[in-house]
């Protein structure tokens, strides 16, 4: 039986606000209880204070590699350009497929018409990179504050440059999105562009969320084994190969941060399958099972296809993660992957969860994860970084999963850390990556044992 099937709709959570709301003000803590029917009672605390999370622009760092004929033009400030460059860090292999149109004093003072300037920059860019087929205009904090309408700019530019270049827009601004929500906004902006499926089309599966190519290939093989032949991925490897969508599309989210994308796909008639996320043997099996159930795959066939790789994954995780059993882990909010990661750490490696911080909790998409985590887990939505650091220091976890700004200071205080961004840039989904995922958690502790200095 699927975990998802156990979970009825959560009352009152369908219209969860995009950013955790709290009217109690900064640095005050409100507690909200979310009841997932009979299955579990997860206590979720909402915290508001200083956040220490990237903005949505950061998603460009992996999206521009994923879609090879797309280009991302941030319309923003020097800070935006510096952010992406710093976050990209060592990932500079070639000329990037992203750039920033930096707004200057004369733009803001109205001396230059912002739209004319944008058209000029886009023309310059397209002339330089004739290989661009899809151009995203990406909104930033400053462009949102001055209410620069990038949606209209995209339409105008598209009209001018189609069919050579299609222009779309989304916001990656830090006043509206955190970190991975940038990918959500990007994919959501693609959804209206997807071709419509014929009304009588055979049912097809759409996997949403950027995955490593190797992981996609493994999943495709598993789906083929299950007899699910029509499988497409969003985002596609080439933006010119957009998958079709319609009422016969079943959507399986590969990432937990795709609230807007899921909503947009549902508006196109697609049906959303709810499942745990494909991290670890258990998560992968349940994720695949959601698809298998939706496509009427019989139980025997499902067992035949998944039993062997699941067993292999469990064994590999047991070996790699052996040293982690009973160890305490603390998650700072970062990518929204925190819940599935914590579930994997607790259930497949026997770790003890001190706290799961997450920038935003989509209660409906995460319901199966909440169910698996049980009801004695401390989940904190939002952030007040100084208070969270106090709690972390008090808890003295064996491993702290946190962002790049916090890792070295915590290491210097004697706490072992794992950069959360590495969990996003490494292929961790699926059976064959389960032990790599365990390895990412195990390595900081193994290293501490090795070092004699």
């Amino acid at each position: 039986m699927t975990i998802a099937a156990l979970l009825p709709e959560i009352p009152g959570c369908g219209a969860a606000p995009r950013i955790a709301a709290s009217d109690a003000g900064r640095a005050t803590v409100t507690t909200a209880e979310v009841t997932t029917a009979k299955v579990t009672t997860a206590k979720v605390t909402t915290e508001r204070g200083q956040r220490e999370v990237f903005c949505g622009l950061t998603g460009i760092v992996w999206l521009h590699r994923k879609m090879q004929d797309a280009f991302f033009l941030v319309v923003g400030s020097r800070t935006c350009a510096h952010l992406i460059q710093s976050a990209a860090g060592v990932m500079i292999f070639a000329e990037p497929r992203f750039a920033t149109a930096i707004m200057e004093e004369r733009d803001l003072a109205g001396l230059a018409d912002m739209n004319d300037e944008l058209d000029r920059v886009v023309t310059q860019l397209v002339a330089r990179r004739p290989d661009i087929k899809l151009l995203f205009l990406v909104g930033s904090c400053p462009s949102e504050v001055i209410k620069l309408d990038l949606g209209r700019a995209a339409q105008r530019l598209s009209r001018r440059m189609m069919p050579d270049v299609r222009v779309l827009s989304y916001s990656g601004s830090g006043i509206e999105t955190t970190f991975t929500e940038g990918e959500d906004a990007c994919l959501a902006s693609l959804v209206p562009e997807l071709p419509a499926q014929a009304p009588d089309a055979a049912p097809s599966l759409l996997v949403a969320g950027a995955l490593a190519e190797a992981v996609e290939d493994q999943f495709s093989k598993l789906f083929a084994g299950l007899g699910i032949a029509r499988v497409a991925y969003l985002p596609p490897r080439r933006a010119c190969n957009l998958p079709a969508v319609g009422p016969n599309t079943r959507v399986l989210l590969a990432q937990p941060f795709l609230a807007g994308t899921a909503r947009a796909l549902q508006e196109r008639g697609a049906a959303l399958l709810t499942a745990p996320f494909p991290l670890g043997a258990e998560g992968t099996t349940e994720w695949l099972r959601a698809a298998a159930t939706a496509f009427g795959v019989n139980a025997d066939r499902f067992e035949t296809v998944t039993a062997l790789p699941a067993q292999r994954a469990r064994q590999a995780v047991a070996r790699t993660g052996a040293r982690l059993a009973g160890k305490k882990i603390f998650f700072f909010p970062d990518s929204q992957l925190e819940l599935p990661l914590a579930r994997f750490a607790a259930r497949e490696m026997g770790m003890q969860i001190e706290e799961i911080g997450t920038p935003y909790l989509h209660r409906q998409h995460l319901a199966p994860e909440l169910a698996l985590l049980g009801d004695d887990v401390r989940i904190v939505e939002g952030q007040d970084v100084d208070r969270q650091l106090d709690r972390c220091r008090a808890a003295r976890p064996d491993l702290t999963v946190c962002g790049l700004g916090l890792a070295n200071p915590l290491e210097a205080e004697g706490l072992a850390t794992k950069w959360s961004i590495e969990l996003l840039f490494t292929p961790i989904q699926g059976y064959e990556q389960a032990s790599d995922l365990a390895g990412l958690f195990a390595r900081p502790l193994a290293r501490r044992e090795l070092l004699k200095v």
Binding site: R78, H82, C141, S173, A407
Partner: protein
């Protein structure tokens, strides 16, 4: 609006963070959205600092914009004071908060904190990181040293030469957090001054507290290590305290010797004993016969103005390289850079557009690039050796070892790091003599640089250096097969140049086909 792929400098508030993080007991409250917290990683990851930068961000969100961002800012200031109990507060806004015009200075003053609050206004849509650092440092110096400025007309009580009651003392100005080798330069220059008999009174901003800034006026003179950051503050100190400033940047042997002489003159001490010592290996290494092969190596220099101008001088005068390009992204120092370029007989390149720099390097066909991490990427693509001489920095620019750029030890470091990427002298000859040795295949790189550079160089060379230039003359030219084969025997690192020279020679001669003879005629024609 400016199209930007990579940027040499961050926004000005990052400059302010570099000053705040360098100091002790200063906390910076920055009105900024959450995305701006990325800047913390510059310090904790790139510089490997073991504490968070002393910065609180208000991280306002879209829903705050309607009403209470000002209130949020005041709460953040009060909370930060309560938690961190700093000796002084710095407040300001990043680019987004600048647009909502909340007046951080006024709001912070309204909080009535029991410590001094310094507001810095950094126009994010006009200025950049180094300007932000300079302005922040200047405002802090004014705020804390200002109350100690003597009334106008007060004669300066200078230390008399020969005064034995105390040693002369100097302030070291300019080093910050995240600076290119600032940590090591300070150590080197402090040691140098110690040997000269000069005390370092205050080093700032690196390691200084607000109370230290208040004492700046007590020093006999100032030393401006990094003009980009300390120039403005030093000028203010000179105007108000009558402190002279040493502005010679001690990068390279000659500049270090000039620096020592200048310091000694201001301090009233004898420089002769220190100048008489053999203090750097660079002069001998450069004169040793092994270094002959360095003669006339074409070098392209780009960086912040101070480091670029110094590097060009050291390259030409102390290593015998030929400077074929010189540029900076520091527009504020355009005049100085143009003067230096004129000295080396090259066109000055003053640009913060990475694409301009790439085009200039490609056109100059240098043997070595001395640049920033950006130029390192350009050089990698072109298959040209490169050494980093300036910010913007990368984690590699904070080596575990002591590796200053300044002083005599700094000169040693320059010699080593600039020469290491080049092909060794005899190896270069052997490659040319025995072209068909299977291990000396045409794509072979310097043997001490490992195999990885070979593939990179090969692909880069195929795509760029070896490419036929798109020009009117090139279109009509044809390479005869035997000439093409002969060209293939030329080591890869000069092959691009050989091809271009031959083609431009052929175009000059009006030839349609390039033969082996043309190749060698061209070689003779261009022989230097």
């Amino acid at each position: 609006m400016q199209l930007t792929l990579w940027t040499y400098e961050g926004p000005p508030h990052v400059g302010a963070m570099r000053v705040a993080s360098a100091m002790r007991g200063v906390h910076y409250v920055l009105h900024a959205p959450q995305g701006d917290t990325y800047a913390d990683l510059l310090f904790t990851m790139i510089e490997r600092r073991d504490t968070r930068p002393p910065v609180t961000y208000t991280t306002f969100q879209a829903r705050d914009l309607g009403g209470d961002t000002a209130d949020l800012f005041k709460r953040s200031v009060r909370d930060a004071y309560e938690r961190f109990k700093p000796e002084a507060m710095l407040v300001g806004a990043s680019c987004t908060a600048e647009l909502i015009q909340d007046d951080p200075g006024g709001l912070a003053r309204a909080c009535n904190l029991p410590v001094p609050v310094v507001a810095v206004e950094l126009p994010a849509y006009q200025k950049k990181e180094n300007w932000g650092a300079a302005e922040t440092f200047y405002q802090l110096v004014r705020a804390f040293a200002g109350p100690h400025v003597p009334p106008p007309g007060t004669p300066r009580t200078a230390r008399e030469p020969g005064d034995t009651s105390r040693r002369p003392r100097a302030n070291l100005l300019g080093p910050t957090a995240l600076g290119f080798r600032h940590r090591d330069d300070v150590r080197e220059i402090c040691a140098l001054l110690g040997r000269l008999g000069v005390d370092v009174h205050v080093t700032a901003p690196l390691g200084a507290s607000a109370a230290d800034l208040a004492r700046l006026g007590e020093a006999d003179f100032n030393i401006v290590l990094y003009p980009e950051i300390a120039g403005q503050a030093a000028a203010w100190l000179e105007r108000n305290f009558g402190q002279k400033a040493v502005r010679t940047v001690p990068i390279g042997v000659t500049a270090t010797r000039n620096f020592i002489a200048e310091v000694a003159a201001l301090a009233g001490v004898d420089a002769a004993p220190l100048l008489g010592e053999q203090t750097s290996r660079l002069p001998w290494y450069s004169r040793s016969v092994d270094a002959n092969y360095l003669t006339g190596k074409r070098v392209f220099v780009f960086g912040d103005a101070t480091h670029a101008i110094a590097a060009a001088r050291v390259a030409a005068d102390e290593l015998g390289f030929a400077v074929v390009g010189l540029g900076t992204y520091s527009r504020e120092f355009g005049r100085e850079l143009r003067a230096a370029a004129a000295l080396h007989g090259v066109e000055p390149l003053i640009s913060d557009d990475y694409l301009d720099v790439e085009a200039a390097i490609t056109a100059a066909q240098p043997d070595l690039v001395l640049g920033t991490q950006m130029e390192r990427h350009i050089a990698k693509r072109l298959g040209v050796p490169c050494a980093v001489i300036s910010a913007p920095v990368h984690v590699q620019d904070f080596p575990a070892r002591h590796a200053p750029q300044m002083g005599f030890e700094g000169a040693n470091v320059l010699f080593d790091t600039w020469v290491a990427p080049l092909m060794m002298g005899l190896e270069e000859h052997l490659l040319t003599m025995f072209r068909e040795d299977f291990e000396f295949h045409p794509e072979a790189a310097a043997s001490h640089l490992g195999a990885t550079t070979q593939a990179a160089a090969r692909s880069a060379e195929n795509s760029r250096m070896d490419a036929t230039p798109e020009g009117a003359g090139a279109r009509a030219l044809r390479w005869a097969p035997d000439a093409e084969k002969e060209l293939g025997k030329i080591p890869f690192f000069v092959r691009g140049k050989a091809r271009r020279n031959t083609e431009s020679f052929a175009a000059l001669q009006g030839l349609a086909t390039i033969t082996v003879e043309t190749l060698y005629d061209a070689k003779a024609h261009f022989a230097r």
